[in-house]
């Protein structure tokens, strides 16, 4: 049986092509300004991989809930709360504490969505606001420590065998997610629920548990990203998650995952992530003013969707 979940499909190929195109444009720019082919240097690429790991972790988790046909808008403050809790009360157990926070938030999201049946778009938005409120309280309450631990810093900025540790963490999590999606009952259940929840339910799939599980994974991934981000800048701070939600969604969708659930490959998400990161980087390096940057960013997404992301209508 051909495995439809990991195969390099059209979106993935397009994303890969676009990444090369963007790098080429960036290189033309650096050449024209006399900087040489710095964008193809191992240092630059490895650094991009390191930075992509943060968004990649988030996108990976987000993909789990998007495949269900849901969304998690609480990512920014889940990430921040996890990082802040890890640094302030975690001590040596910082990473487990962060993961616990992420899992807890994910479970709350999942319960709201699965049992209360509140649309995820709005429930997670509310949870995000609540988390922000809690963190405002936390920051203002006493002097919370925000210094990341050595382990967090190693995970974020260390290198092993010349490869950025962050990218290795991302690869490890990716491996787990791919196995989960393609080789386990839960993975099939995720796709089934995303397509038709009633049929999945009547097939004896414990749909609510799967939904809670996916949100928990999403929360944990965001928390792990929060750990790495805190390690990267050696501290946790308010607002550290703001820049990751919309790019995360864009990465997943550009990678070919259907926003309404049921379809998508993990490879696509990885490529979508790299695409977004490289695009942001090239635009930043080219010193594009913010206005132009926004426009190009939007147009690239539209162009990608035109190329392949066109909805062929819902089957059936």
């Amino acid at each position: 049986m051909r495995n439809p979940l990991t195969a390099l499909d059209k979106p993935a190929l397009f994303a890969a092509g676009s990444i090369l195109l963007i790098l080429a444009v960036g290189s033309l720019y650096t050449l024209s300004t006399g900087g040489g082919l710095t964008m193809l240097s191992p240092a630059y690429l490895s650094q991009q991989l390191q930075i992509a790991a943060f968004l990649g972790l988030i996108a990976g988790g987000l993909m789990m809930v998007i495949l269900l046909g849901h969304i998690d808008l609480s990512i920014p403050w889940t990430l921040t709360a996890a990082a802040m809790m890890a640094t302030s009360v975690g001590g040596p157990a910082a990473v487990p504490v962060a993961l616990a926070v992420g899992l807890a938030v994910g479970v709350v999201n999942g319960l709201g969505v699965a049992w209360l049946r509140v649309p995820s778009m709005i429930f997670t938005l509310g949870v995000n606001t609540v988390l922000q409120g809690l963190m405002v309280l936390h920051t203002g309450g006493h002097a919370p420590q925000s210094r990341s631990t050595g382990l967090m810093e190693f995970l974020a900025t260390g290198h092993v065998l010349g490869l950025p540790m962050a990218a290795l963490v991302w690869a490890a999590v990716s491996g787990l997610l791919v196995v989960l999606l393609t080789r386990t009952a839960m993975g099939r259940a995720v796709y089934a629920i995303g397509n038709r929840e009633s049929a999945a339910y009547l097939s004896g799939i414990p749909t609510n548990r799967v939904i809670v599980g996916c949100f928990a994974i999403c929360g944990a991934c965001a928390a792990l990203a929060g750990c790495l981000l805190a390690g990267y800048s050696t501290k946790a701070y308010q607002g550290m998650g703001n820049a990751y939600l919309l790019p995360g969604i864009a990465a997943v969708v550009i990678g070919g995952t259907h926003v309404l659930g049921g379809r998508g490959t993990y490879t696509g998400t990885v490529l979508g992530t790299i695409l977004i990161v490289v695009l942001q980087s090239v635009l930043s390096v080219m010193q594009m003013p913010d206005a132009g940057r926004q426009i190009i960013y939007g147009l690239v997404i539209i162009a990608m969707l035109f190329a392949y992301g066109r909805d062929t209508g819902r089957a059936g």
Partner: protein, 351 residues
């Protein structure tokens, strides 16, 4: 009767919540119920109400418009460039703003309909483009909006009459009962009456509901699915334009503020949901969203009036306020969950 009640439960819930929150606020406010307060409250709510209305229409078709905030920001910046000069120029300026917003909505619609893109991601992308254009129009906040026009549309009828110099400058005796009516309130009513109600009563408007409820059935039934969808996004653009235009009138300037745009988009979605419109499409309406927006606004109204020593003193703690805001939002949207817990046939949970 019961059927009608259950169908409008969401709306009733929003109205009830609003009444409770606003009542609490008015009771605590030293000038609660006064005309000045009404003007102020309708003023600060108007843009969000219109943004929520804008969000409602695509949501009815089963879509979503993440570019509501950006589009409204774009129009806000455009308005700060064109809303000056004499009456004719002003009229053209207003038309240009409305047209720009409508065009933005149409572009969204085209991407969704002809580009066959998923609305969430298509409007995420156009949203970035619109913010970019807004930044080009207004690299830094500023600009000038005709003060008379602003005064005419953002205060009460007395002010409008004074600006226009009609009814003895608003001093006519018969006019006095109407004088304190806030103009933004009238504008919202006018939008409902002259834009929404007619739209809802056309085949196209009903088509939006049908498409959202079941696109396949709508198509097989002979509904022009594309046209309905296109109309929905275009109308959303028009509403967003009104919101942006009003923001320009209210602040007198344009500001390409991306975080503010994002906040409007998210709040518009929250308002739509609180107002009882299903995010899956097919049921609900802009009246609910109006109250949804008012609920959101009234939450924060209350933070201003409570004394730290009073029975709801915690509302006055500035570090607790963001938490309360989130909690009330969560509770408001979870109230509908009573339905999910009451449902006796679990298959109905999947809608």
């Amino acid at each position: 009767m019961r059927a009608a009640l259950s169908r409008n439960l969401g709306l009733l819930l929003a109205v009830g919540l609003f009444a409770a929150l606003y009542g609490l606020y008015s009771a605590q406010h030293p000038r609660g119920g006064s005309a000045a307060l009404l003007v102020q409250n309708s003023n600060e709510s108007f843009a969000l109400i219109l943004a929520a209305m804008a969000q409602t229409v695509p949501v009815l078709t089963g879509g979503l418009d993440l570019s509501v905030g950006p589009l409204m920001t774009l129009v806000n910046c455009l308005a700060s460039r064109v809303l000056s000069g004499g009456p004719v120029e002003l009229a053209f300026g207003i038309l240009a703003c409305l047209a720009a917003g409508t065009l933005g909505g149409l572009v969204n619609g085209c991407l969704v309909v002809y580009g066959r893109m998923q609305p969430i991601i298509a409007t995420l992308a156009t949203g970035a483009v619109y913010i970019g254009i807004a930044l080009f129009l207004r690299p830094t906040p500023g600009g000038a909006v005709n003060a008379d026009l602003s005064a005419m549309l953002t205060y009460d009828l007395a002010e409008t009459a004074a600006v226009l110099g009609v009814f003895d400058g608003g001093q006519a005796a018969w006019f006095q009962p109407f004088a304190p009516i806030p103009v933004p309130l009238l504008l919202v009513l006018a939008v409902l009456l002259f834009v929404w109600v007619p739209f809802r009563g056309t085949e196209m408007g009903r088509g939006c509901y049908a498409v959202g409820s079941s696109e396949g059935s709508a198509y097989l039934s002979g509904i022009d699915v594309d046209r309905s969808r296109l109309a929905a996004y275009t109308l959303a653009g028009l509403f967003a334009a009104m919101a942006g235009l009003y923001l320009a009138l209210q602040t007198g300037t344009g500001n390409a503020d991306a975080p503010q745009a994002g906040a409007y988009t998210l709040n518009s979605i929250a308002a739509v949901v609180i107002g009882g419109t299903s995010l899956f499409g097919g049921s609900g309406g802009v009246v609910g969203s109006l109250f949804g927006a008012l609920v959101l606004r009234s939450i924060s109204f209350n933070f201003r009036v409570f004394d730290e020593a009073s029975w709801l003193g915690a509302l006055a703690d500035p570090l607790l306020q963001p938490l309360f805001e989130g909690m009330v939002l969560l509770i408001a949207v979870s109230l509908g969950a009573a339905r999910a817990l009451r449902i006796r046939n679990r298959l109905q949970l999947f809608g």
